[in-house]
């Protein structure tokens, strides 16, 4: 303690010495001191706590929390001195490295005492105005550049590219062969190669409109929306599981995926596309807001029970929405400002929380679709549900009454009914005397009154108690006993092996005649089953009366008894006949119900009362500062809402601000994403970062020209595609050029078309297309890539695909973080984070997968069979067909003879297997 108070004492002495010394000289005495002790953390590199001491203005403004840090004339009131003096040991500065000496402390104190004179113009660094940034400025209307080569350009777009090449002394590559362009544009727009027929037609169509005809037809194909939706889903990290802790299935996410495909296929104007994804619930586009909740999220059961854990989880969940919105539409990484003002961009922590406030009322969850179809389906489902319930009740009533003398069926791990003479009760107690294994587990305890209503439901006010329990987050909890949900993951588990009890108290006294219970109605678990039990009832909770037990049940346990196949033992022939009749009625109803239910819901967020959003100190929910109301980024606009603004209106306001032609980022970001989709790299290489740390545009005028064109076209993505793929720039060959490569190895300036490998999805889809197996069906709940649709681990990949499994890969059930077993290795994003651009990597695992997987072998065989079927026994024709289908060309004579010898010795599947692995097959020409 002595050491810490020492500098304080010293401060007191300063004024005594002052008059005897010359005034402190900032440049020679104070700045070196700052540079020695402070500037490594509070200078150009880092500005910890928002403070920097190398620039006059910034130094006097001060840091985030203790500003101003220097109070001229008042050393005692200057936090800076307190910190370096070590008054508060937690805030001692510098925290590491050499402390200030007593002389230095005295000098600093004297400088402040004397008025902290800091001459202007002596700083080495200048404060940068973060708002002065190209992408924050309005779109320019650049003049068309004049090029030396006056004949090459087909579109104004080309003039910008050519002018830039000429500036470097470079020129474009010659035009690609027609066949190459066709293959390129087909993959680019639809993700699939042209058929041999399409190749022939185009190559022989010498009319001036030939290219345009192809492009129009590709853009009109539903395959186009499938291809470009994938680009979009990469950015929004779409998946069909919840991610994080348990990664369980998110069963109704897919309507959003389908929405994106439909919207792109119907060329929904992009401004509308933006509005729908942020606030589509206002215009009947429910599935569109799946965008908001596409991230991983902790489900309620996985969040800690302490309040701090809940607050943190909620913050994380809102953060994901803010990050998604700003990076997808605006190309800005605002997430950094959650903890501190953005280091490089003009985004303050306040901006960040003001952005949060727009989404403060968005919860992660499913919503009823409000389309007319969904409404009708819901109505119908309720009716069907009622019919099924009626049948079930009737069937269940045929169970022999307990203690009637008839032997009852053995206990089943799935479901058991104990029927008894109607009795008045307010309490039911289920006591377990024995289990087949471990602590007992019951997934749901249902008690029916004579009207057939389950009166034990928590929702109807019944309360549960138990001898004890084993809680496992989101799996076992006493509250799951009467929550109306079935299965192991919604069950109660006792805490003693082979015994325990649970009890239900109804809201009021009921006349009951049946208890229905099970260990796991989903039929996956067979252990923890009560094999010995007693069911007692009571009106007052004191006098108990036994109504059923296991003594008249047959020995043993059953695994597979289910409601659709009830045991008929102990029933008379008439009852048996009735049951069979009812079951016949029920089957189709269940099917109908499943179909109806799958059309009603979408995981697209729920609108709730907005949380109060506060500025959080260092992003810590436990350290809230002032309340913040919705407002757009202050560097870009002035839109601000009342802090009490209704939920949906907040999102609408934000959506309209983003989807405005005057927003300088929205159109630039989108046209750049589309450019990237065609050329592999955008005009701005960092497609989701248009901030100061992002790359500068390679062709800034072109970017603005495209954005202006885009707005003029009515925000039409199809018009933009057409503009690009018909350009001379896009038509170039991918030919290598040593001179150009020396200046620009990655062909960012587009001295050629930059070749690239097909994406994971395109490879799979194309293999299926050429083998003739691709199922063109669109939409719907995803097909399985694994043996299960979500969960912690143990995903066994599906190896044989048929039916829906042969649809395009965008229709697969996407399990977050679980790479698909064959194609995942081809840089397929795992939906953990946003992927603004896929990186192309090459690994031996890719080679093993593509060579040896069951999928590849099956496609090789199917392609061989297809070709034999179509071409007959002529080997030459077969070889030609394989080449045409896979590579879009005929083989030369050398290739024919090589292929022929392989085919004749090793069979056509061997030839196909090799070709499906070639670079020519896998690269865009």
């Amino acid at each position: 303690m002595k050491i810490r108070t020492f500098p304080l004492l010293l401060l007191g002495c300063v004024s005594l010495e002052r008059s005897q010394a010359a005034p402190v000289d900032f440049v020679h005495e104070i700045r070196p001191l700052f540079e020695k002790h402070c500037v490594s953390c509070h200078g150009p590199e880092k500005q910890k706590g928002g403070l920097r001491l190398d620039i006059k203005k910034a130094a006097f403004t001060g840091g985030d929390d203790h500003a101003p840090n220097i109070v001229p004339g008042k050393p005692k009131d200057s936090p800076l001195l307190k910190f370096v003096g070590g008054q508060d040991p937690d805030l001692l500065m510098p925290p590491k490295g050499e402390r200030l000496t007593t002389d230095e402390l005295a000098l600093l104190a004297r400088w402040i005492e004397e008025g902290a004179s800091w001459p202007d113009g002596v700083d080495a660094e200048k404060l940068v105005d973060k708002r002065d940034h190209w992408s924050f400025k309005p779109l320019a209307s650049p003049a068309l550049p004049v090029c030396k080569n006056g004949t090459w350009a087909r579109s104004p777009l080309d003039s910008f590219v050519l002018a830039r090449l000429e500036m470097e002394g470079l020129g474009p590559a010659p035009e690609a062969e027609r066949r190459e362009w066709l293959r390129r544009v087909s993959f680019d727009l639809t993700g699939l190669p042209p058929t041999p027929q399409e190749v022939d037609t185009f190559v022989s169509d010498q009319s001036l409109q030939a290219h345009e005809r192809v492009v129009d037809s590709l853009l009109a194909s539903p395959r186009y929306g499938e291809q470009w939706a994938q680009h979009w889903l990469d950015v929004v990290r779409y998946a069909d599981t919840h991610g994080f802790e348990v990664n369980t299935e998110r069963p109704n996410a897919w309507p959003y995926r389908d929405y994106v495909i439909q919207a792109i296929n119907s060329d929904t104007p992009y401004d509308q596309f933006v509005r729908e994804q942020i606030a589509g619930d206002a215009t009947g586009k429910d599935a569109a807001t799946g965008f908001l909740v596409s991230a991983s999220v902790l489900l309620p059961g996985q969040i800690g029970k302490d309040e701090a854990s809940k607050r943190l989880a909620r913050q994380d969940a809102i953060d994901e929405i803010v990050v998604n919105t700003s990076q997808t539409f605006l190309g800005l990484s605002v997430g950094c400002a959650r903890c501190h003002d953005h280091k490089f961009d003009a985004i303050t922590a306040r901006d960040y929380y003001a952005m949060q406030a727009f989404f403060a009322g968005v919860g992660y969850g499913e919503r009823d679709l409000q389309t007319p179809d969904a409404k009708a389906a819901r109505k119908e489902a309720a009716v069907v549900q009622g019919k099924i319930a009626e049948i079930d009740r009737t069937i269940a009533s045929f169970v022999p009454v307990a203690f009637s003398g008839a032997k009852r069926v053995p206990v089943s791990s799935k479901i058991n009914t104990d029927r008894f003479t109607p009795v008045k009760a307010k309490h039911v107690r289920f006591t377990i005397l024995k289990t087949n294994k471990l602590e007992p587990c019951i997934d749901e305890l249902e008690v029916f009154n004579t009207q057939g209503v389950n009166v034990a439901l928590g929702l109807s006010g019944a309360k549960v108690s138990a001898s004890g329990q084993t809680i496992v987050a989101d799996r076992h909890d006493l509250n799951f006993l009467n929550d109306g949900r079935y299965g192991n993951s919604k069950s109660w588990m006792g805490n003693e092996t082979g015994k325990g009890w649970v009890a239900v108290e109804f809201a009021e006294v009921q006349t009951i005649d049946r208890v229905v219970w099970g260990r796991d109605r989903d039929g996956k678990f067979f252990d923890r089953l009560a094999t010995g039990y007693r069911i007692e009832v009571s009106e007052n909770g004191e006098n108990w009366h036994l109504v059923a037990d296991a003594s008249d049940r047959s020995e043993g346990t059953e695994k597979k008894v289910n409601v659709s196949n009830p045991s008929l033992a102990g029933l008379n022939p008439e009852e048996v006949r009735q049951i069979k009749h009812l079951l016949n009625e029920k089957g189709p109803l269940v099917k109908q119900l499943n179909t109806l239910n799958s059309q009603q819901k979408v995981f697209a967020g729920v609108s709730q009362k907005p949380d109060d959003i506060h500025l959080l100190y260092r992003g810590n929910p436990e350290q809230p500062k002032e309340r913040v109301s919705p407002a757009v980024l202050s560097a870009l606009g002035s839109l601000k809402l009342e802090s009490e603004a209704p939920e949906q209106s907040r999102r609408l306001a934000l959506a309209n601000w983003i989807a405005s032609p005057t927003n300088p980022l929205t159109t630039r970001v989108l046209v750049n994403r589309i450019w990237q989709g065609h050329f592999g790299t955008g005009i701005v290489e960092t497609a989701s970062d248009f901030g100061r740390m992002g790359a500068k545009p390679s062709h800034p005028e072109l970017l603005d020209w495209l954005a202006q064109e885009f707005i003029r076209s009515g925000w039409s993505m199809k018009a933009l595609h057409k503009q690009i793929v018909l350009s001379a720039t896009y038509r170039q060959a991918s030919r290598w050029n040593q001179t150009a490569a020396a200046k620009d190895a990655e062909s960012r300036l587009l001295w050629r078309f930059p070749p690239r490998r097909l994406s994971a999805e395109n490879i799979r889809d194309t293999m299926l297309a050429v083998s003739g197996e691709l199922n063109p069906a669109m939409y719907g709940s995803g097909f399985d890539l694994f043996n299960k649709r979500g969960g912690l681990s143990g995903f066994t990949p599906v190896e044989f695909f048929e039916g829906n499994g042969l649809k395009r890969m965008i229709y697969a059930h996407k399990v977050r973080r679980e790479p698909e077993a064959v194609f995942g290795a081809f840089d397929c994003p795992d939906a953990g984070l946003s992927t603004s651009r896929r990186r192309e990597s090459t690994t031996p695992i890719q080679a093993l997968n593509l060579l040896n997987s069951r999928f590849s072998l099956d496609r090789s065989a199917a392609l061989g069979e297809r070709v034999k079927r179509e071409m007959g026994p002529d080997v030459l024709k077969q070889i030609e067909r394989v080449y045409q289908l896979t590579l879009g060309r005929l083989p030369d004579s050398g290739e024919v003879s090589d292929a022929k010898s392989v085919l004749e010795t090793h069979g056509i599947a061997t030839l196909c297997r090799a070709i499906l692995n070639t670079n020519e097959f896998l690269f865009l020409p």
């Binding site: 620009d744 790479p819 840089d827 984070l833 990597s841 093993l848 040896n852 670079n919």
Partner: protein, 491 residues
């Protein structure tokens, strides 16, 4: 820089592995720096020592930032949060406080209401020359304390398994960030070109809570994702089922001819050549992976020392085989091996998540971990491998000094827990940092897991602040914007 077995490669393959050829040919590396400057990325490149990855040979060994103490790493990752109080962090004071409430303690923790303080569930003994107190739960590992540097004062940013395992493995709570092994192999490549650079070995009982995210490459190139293999599950697609050797050879030969012709017509595309090379690497893996997984060549005394011959406990035997596999991998120069002990949340049945019946379950789990893991470290030492190999023992967080109400187990505690290091560059017999006298919170030399990861990178010769990758506008690091190397545990 040319791998020793380059002579087995085809002509295009050999060309590719010639570094100068690669640099002059490739579309990815130095050639494009001039233009990169033009596009405003110069600051990014200059600011850090970013590795240059040869696309044809992503696992080529690369130099560290400074001379490394450790060449390889084995991480023993105990999933589910091992209680520090039952293992390495001796709290005699807790015995006195047994069954008393913690004054001022929280009413509710992660899983529910807090109960009374509970004494360590195992006896502790002094061990080794330093007299380090370690519990009887892990008698074999306990004998190694003279070689171990313990860090008793680690903290995590989450008290939930999934995010906390992410935080331990990737430096971020959220999904989708590259794992420690990916960063390491991205930076350093591997010493063996016939095996994956980074191998993740799942526990026989299943994978940890966050599954593949623990060995994911995140936004780093896919080449740096961990390849999973274990004594129970070999690498997928090593061979083509039902395809005879002659069919296989014919297909590969034809493929090679077609690719070579194509490359001739399309010069200057590094990625085409890289794919050709990748098939040759794959062919070598087809031979070397089955060989490394074949433990039948291990002598009986080795199997016995690890407990791989234990017929009474199949989990232990399988984990022991995984430990032997880990040794064989680093022996062959594989850079990074992650050895998992414990699976996912299961009420503590399959991992160290002892909420309810801690002692009962830990008896089982420790039996699986202790002998095999201790044998691994001993074996590495005897073979001289520990001089180059860093062994990390870690878990995502610790457990509370009190039991949960109505249960005999401890809830999640991210505020003070223990992990340790041994092997290359690590000072043995060190106990660094402290929790309070009841083991509730770290109080002395507190280190967020950032520091732990920074220290591991440091031992590999990597500056955690310089090892960066640009993603969506942010220069990402394993340690976010944090991290201080824990110098006290270094030799």
């Amino acid at each position: 820089m040319i791998p020793t077995n380059a002579e087995h490669l085809s002509v295009p393959g050999r060309l590719l592995l010639d570094r100068r050829q690669f640099l002059s040919n490739s579309a990815t590396a130095l050639g494009s720096i001039a233009l990169t400057n033009l596009l405003g990325l110069d600051g990014l490149l200059a600011a850090d020592a970013r590795p240059v990855i040869d696309p044809a040979n992503p696992y080529a060994p690369r130099s560290p930032h400074f001379p490394a103490k450790a060449k390889n790493v084995i991480v023993i990752f105990c999933a589910g949060a091992v209680s520090q109080l039952e293992t390495w962090d001796y709290k005699p004071e807790l015995i006195k406080w047994d069954n008393k409430p913690l004054p001022g303690g929280p009413a509710v923790t992660f899983q529910g209401e807090a109960g009374n303080l509970a004494r360590p569930q195992y006896e502790f003994q002094r061990r080794g020359k330093t007299g380090k107190w370690v519990s009887d739960l892990i008698p074999n590992l306990a004998e190694l304390t003279d070689d171990i540097a313990f860090i008793h004062s680690l903290t995590s940013k989450s008290n939930t398994h999934g995010p906390a395992e992410n935080f331990l493995s990737t430096g971020f709570n959220l999904d989708g960030f590259p794992s420690l092994g990916s960063w390491t192999t991205y930076a350093l490549g591997s010493e063996n070109q016939n095996l994956p650079a980074y191998v993740a070995i799942p526990d026989p009982r299943g994978v940890p809570q966050n599954g593949a995210n623990n060995w994911g490459a995140g936004f780093l190139p896919a080449a740096f994702q961990g390849t999973t293999m274990s004594s129970l599950e070999p690498v997928r697609h090593l061979s083509a089922a039902g395809i005879t050797q002659s069919l296989d050879a014919a297909a590969k030969a034809l493929l090679q001819r077609m690719n070579a012709q194509h490359l001739e017509k399309h010069p200057g595309n590094g990625n085409l050549a890289a794919r050709i090379a990748s098939y040759e690497l794959a062919a070598r893996m087809q031979l070397s992976v089955p060989e490394i997984s074949d433990l039948s060549t291990e002598p009986a005394h080795v199997l016995k020392a690890y407990g791989a011959d234990d017929t009474t406990n199949k989990d232990k035997a399988a984990f022991a085989k995984n430990c032997i596999l880990a040794r064989r991998l680093v022996e062959k120069g594989v850079r990074f091996v992650q050895l998992f002990n414990g699976a996912y949340a299961s009420g503590g049945k399959l991992n160290w998540d002892g909420h309810n019946a801690l002692k009962e379950q830990y008896d089982i789990h420790a039996n699986v971990l202790d002998q095999p893991a201790a044998a691994l470290i001993r074996d590495l030492k005897e073979r001289g491998l520990l001089q180059d190999t860093l062994v990390v023992w870690c878990t995502e967080f610790g457990r509370m000094p009190f039991f949960q109400k109505g249960a005999k187990g401890r809830d999640h505690n991210p505020d003070g827990f223990t992990c340790w290091l041994t092997g290359a560059g690590v000072k043995g017999g060190v106990s660094h940092g402290e929790t309070d006298e009841l083991g509730r919170k770290a109080v002395k030399d507190v280190h967020p897991l950032y520091d732990f990861n920074a220290t591991i990178l440091h031992l590999l010769g990597l500056n955690h602040e310089k090892l960066t990758f640009e993603h969506n506008g942010v220069q990402r690091r394993l340690t976010s914007v944090e991290g201080n190397v824990i110098k006290e545990v270094l030799t």
